[in-house]
Amino acid sequence: MARHSVLGAVLVGALALAGCGGAKVGDTSSGATGDCGTFNLAINPWVGYEANAAVLAYVAEKELKCKVTKKELKEEVAWQGFGTGEVDAVVENWGHDDLRKKYVDEQKTAVSAGSTGVKGQIGWYVPPWLAKEHPDILDWNNLNKYADKFKTSESGDKGQLLDGDPSFVTNDEALVKNLNLNYKVVYGGSETALIQAFRQAEKDKKWVIGYFYSPQWLLNEIKLEKVKLPAYTPGCDADAEKIACDYPDYDLDKLVSKKFADANGPAFQLVKNFKWTNEDQNTVAKYIAEDKMKPEDAAKKWAEANADKVKAWLPKA
């Protein structure tokens, strides 16, 4: 008997709950998509890229009524996606001559869609306190003088030059050798390792020198100073083993799949026209990294404040 009443009570209770109701699924309908269709946007894993992509996605959805599919991928995989038709656009590319050769020149599945307007820089950086107390460290000629200070458990009797994310080309081993520096390249292996090293170095006044790049959201927080290496001249990096000059400045550009470009739809027009500045990107990157805003919200905030810039990207009707 008891068990029947338990069962009954449960059922009655549940049905009563159901009767109370609430909003039913399907009461509100979602927005329809326009003639733009689907736009497959690769998201490479760093904040500056995310800033570009978030703004593009926001504009594509809001103004062009595209259905934007964001795909979070490492660079290699994203470029591969041009050929398989699963990625339409990569919207911040750092050089990557090897990928360019493979997918643009050989397989012909990708084409360039012009500059993003953002200038990229790679080099050796030190924390601000160090640059302030020992200004001469910003010249590579004086690096050997301080090599002892940079010793760590990993570098033995030499100074440690911390390298990070292997996604970018590094000539650091060749540079150390050819500039006769008493340093050893230690591979941190990730951007996280670099950021933690610099943060701690600034906080505790520790001696750290490492490979870094701008634009990068950390630079909003800690103004790392770049060490001057022998100036870059075109062709000075032709022979990888003999490199003894600084890294070139990168014009960060956009790549799209051949199919996407040929179709020439509104989303492609938008990607092609998209161009802003380091400052713009830093603003959005700061919203995301420091203010912990969602990329969509960060993009919205920037786009609403910069309506004229956004307007210039829209396809001419």
Binding site: R3, V6, L7, V10, L11, A14, L15, A18, G21, G22, A23, K24, V25, G26, D27, P45, V47, K71, E72, L73, K74, E76, V77, Q80, G81, G83, T84, E86, D98, L99, K102, E106, Q107, T152, S153, E154, L162, D165, P166, S167, T170, E173, V186, Y187, G188, G189, S190, T192, A193, L194, Q196, A197, R199, Q200, D204, W217, I288, A289, E290, K292
Partner: protein
């Protein structure tokens, strides 16, 4: 009594002579090392390639270029991809993603909680069912319902496919020695080959999407199911099988009526291990756009947002603990639910599913008592405190271990000429396991040289050995404690589970602050991941020592220390060797993660290969070197274990 105090002593003289030869080999090595230091170390610069590496690059490019014309792709891989994609998308449509033109999944949170609770109730009993319901509601409260369901969908898909393929293969390997011999190296390969190596090629074969993510997961997750099934079939007592055969049963009848039922419990444990392995892949699969919690972790780490990453990592841990407890309980005694509970549960579940299908409040988890942000804040605060106040202590500890342990070992291995190391390893292998072991080691060393990454392999080997030593120290201390005290076990076990499935990068961020980017950080990360396995194995081994023996020892007036050292540890030496073996393999599976925090060597080679096209071949070769190291160390520890336990 004598047998209790001194279990199975090897003949004294024999042991004595052996250790003399051992010492002689080591001394000879040290002397020759002084003479030949830095000669013939086969070093290779970070950006340098060998012809093998270039050749692999060429193959990779050729495959990529022919993707759209090659019939193997068009009619084979594409078909597999389609089936798996459909399967995963279907599960996602049921519980995770808006589907069938609705803004929400078919079954909302209330329905999923009810189904999970009911299934747990049916297979694992009341207590586990309560845990399940609490765990799933917790996921919602964390503000991660949809992400968790995406992860659950992918995990379920990978596990189902793993089992569909794995259990039959396991049965086959259990019945046939030949199949077992063929499968074992394949499984070793699948488990130790770093995922980074095949992640990019997978998306070439199966495109970006759920299929690639699922396949990446199941490559790592299927082997435990196969191994444990095979082991289960083999462990069925011979006389049971013979009895069945003498009664005139056919092979099929014996399999279905005798072997499978007696192996059932162990096979369920295989399912359990497969689920855990699948959850361990969540973050890595996110690098090729796998939906779910992994994405949250990866994204949060771009800005070093430990709080958010920890919250998502915790959700993975909760999922893992729930699934683990359900499957473990299911492997235990078979329970029969009273009929009223069964039908009552079914009814409630049905109503909940209906509600969650129909009403928004039951479909989307909208909680006003959200706790995700508090967890986030708490984790951030703890991390900041640790980063601010501990580095002075931890930095010193790092330097001590590095100079006392890592550097000398690495100098010996990586700065000796290759032929000297080869000679020493082969000689030691011969002493440990006879001619067979010597041959295996010799072949492995030849393969390491062929990869072109000999010196990197030796550096990685040095770190691996240090990490394994630390794992065993922790394993023995904590394992003995847990084995002797039920209460300790109850408190420590969930922590161990958490350490095993919490994505490594969540704790690597504070570790980097505590220990800088260094080999030591990599070693600590490996210890966090590998120690739980060793601890659990040793705890179980200690507990399995018969209580009568322990009581006898205590009755004879032994102190706790004497009982542990003279009775419990020696009698659990099977477990100790198993722990060492598994500890090594788990440490090796963290080599790549180590590459991300300053370990350099093979780990870094793999990471770089994943990130840069021209280094792809080198990355693959480094992956192979890790596999070869794994096989060599595995066979050696097994041979040593055999000698020691017999």
């Amino acid at each position: 009594m004598v047998a209790v105090a001194a279990p199975r002593q090897l003949p004294r003289l024999f042991q004595h002579k052996k250790s003399l030869i051992f010492a002689a080999i080591v001394v000879a090595w040290l002397v020759l090392w002084l003479v030949f230091r830095n000669v013939g170390t086969l070093a290779l610069g970070a950006a340098d390639l060998t012809p093998l590496h270039r050749w692999i690059n060429g193959v990779n490019d050729a495959v990529g270029a022919s993707r759209n014309s090659n019939p193997v792709f068009l009619y084979f891989f594409n078909e597999i991809r389609l089936v798996i994609d459909e399967f995963v998308t279907f599960i996602q449509a049921l519980i995770a993603q808006p589907s069938f033109g609705r803004p929400v999944p078919v079954i909302g949170w209330l329905g999923v909680v009810a189904i999970a609770g009911f299934v747990s109730l049916a297979v694992a009993g009341w207590r586990v069912a309560l845990l399940t319901v609490a765990g799933f509601v917790f996921l919602g409260l964390q503000g991660l319902w949809q992400e968790s369901m995406d992860t659950l969908s992918l995990t379920l898909a990978a596990v189902v496919i793993s089992l569909l393929a794995g259990i039959p293969l396991g049965i086959w390997a259990g019945l046939s020695d030949r199949a077992n011999r063929v499968l074992t190296p394949v499984l070793d390969f699948m488990q130790t080959m770093p995922t980074f190596v095949y992640l990019a090629p997978l998306t070439l074969f199966f495109l970006i999407g759920p299929a690639s993510a699922t396949i990446a997961t199941l490559i790592y997750a299927a082997p435990p199911a196969i191994r444990i099934t095979a082991h289960a079939i083999r462990s069925v007592p011979r006389n049971t099988v013979e009895a069945s055969e003498s009664l005139g049963a056919t092979r099929n009848q014996t399999l279905v009526k005798v072997l499978l039922p007696s192996a059932r419990k162990t096979i369920v444990l295989g399912v359990n291990q497969t689920i855990m392995a699948a959850l361990a892949m969540v973050t890595i699969a996110a690098l090729i756009d796998a939906p779910g919690l992994g994405k949250t972790v990866v994204k949060a780490l771009q800005t070093l947002d430990v709080g958010t990453a920890f919250n998502a990592g915790l959700a993975i841990v909760v999922l893992a603990i729930v699934l683990d407890r359900v499957t473990t309980a299911a492997a235990g005694e078979r329970r029969k639910l009273p009929r009223w509970a069964l039908f009552g549960g079914l009814g409630v579940t049905g109503v909940c599913v209906y509600l969650s299908h129909t009403y928004l409040w039951a479909a989307e988890f909208q909680s006003d008592v959200e706790i995700g942000s508090s967890i986030n804040k708490g984790a951030t605060a703890v991390t900041e405190w640790a980063q601010d106040s501990l580095p002075v202590l931890t930095g010193g500890f790092k330097d001590f271990v590095t100079f006392a342990l890592i550097n000398p070992l690495q100098a010996l291995l990586a700065e000796s000429p290759w032929f000297l190391v080869a000679l020493v390893v082969v000689a030691l292998s011969f002493m440990v396991g006879g001619v067979r072991s010597a041959i295996v080691s010799a072949v492995c060393i030849a393969l390491l040289i062929a990869t072109g990454l000999w010196q990197d392999s030796m550096i990685t080997l040095a770190s691996t050995l240090v990490a394994t030593i630390l794992v065993m120290l922790l394993g023995i201390v904590v394992g003995v404690w847990m084995g002797r005290s039920r209460r300790a076990d109850r408190f420590i076990r969930p922590v161990l589970d958490a350490a095993q499935v919490m994505p490594a990068f969540v704790y690597l961020v504070p570790f980097l602050a505590l220990f800088s980017a260094s080999r030591f950080t990599a070693i600590i990360a490996a210890v966090v991941f590998a120690a739980p396995v060793a601890i659990k194995i040793i705890a179980d081994g200690i507990r399995a020592v018969s209580p009568a023996t322990v009581e006898a020892s205590t009755a004879l007036g032994s102190s706790s220390w004497q009982t542990i050292v003279k009775v419990q540890l020696p009698m659990a030496r099977g477990a100790l060797t198993l722990a060492a073996n598994q500890g090594l393999i788990y440490v090796l599976s963290m080599v790549v993660v180590g590459g991300l925090v300053g370990a350099g060597a093979l780990g870094y080679d793999v990471v770089a290969g994943f990130s840069q096209g021209q280094l792809y071949g080198k990355g693959l070769a480094a992956g192979l070197a890790i596999v070869v190291l794994g096989v060599m160390l595995d066979r050696l520890t097994q041979a040593a274990a055999k000698r020691w336990t017999n």
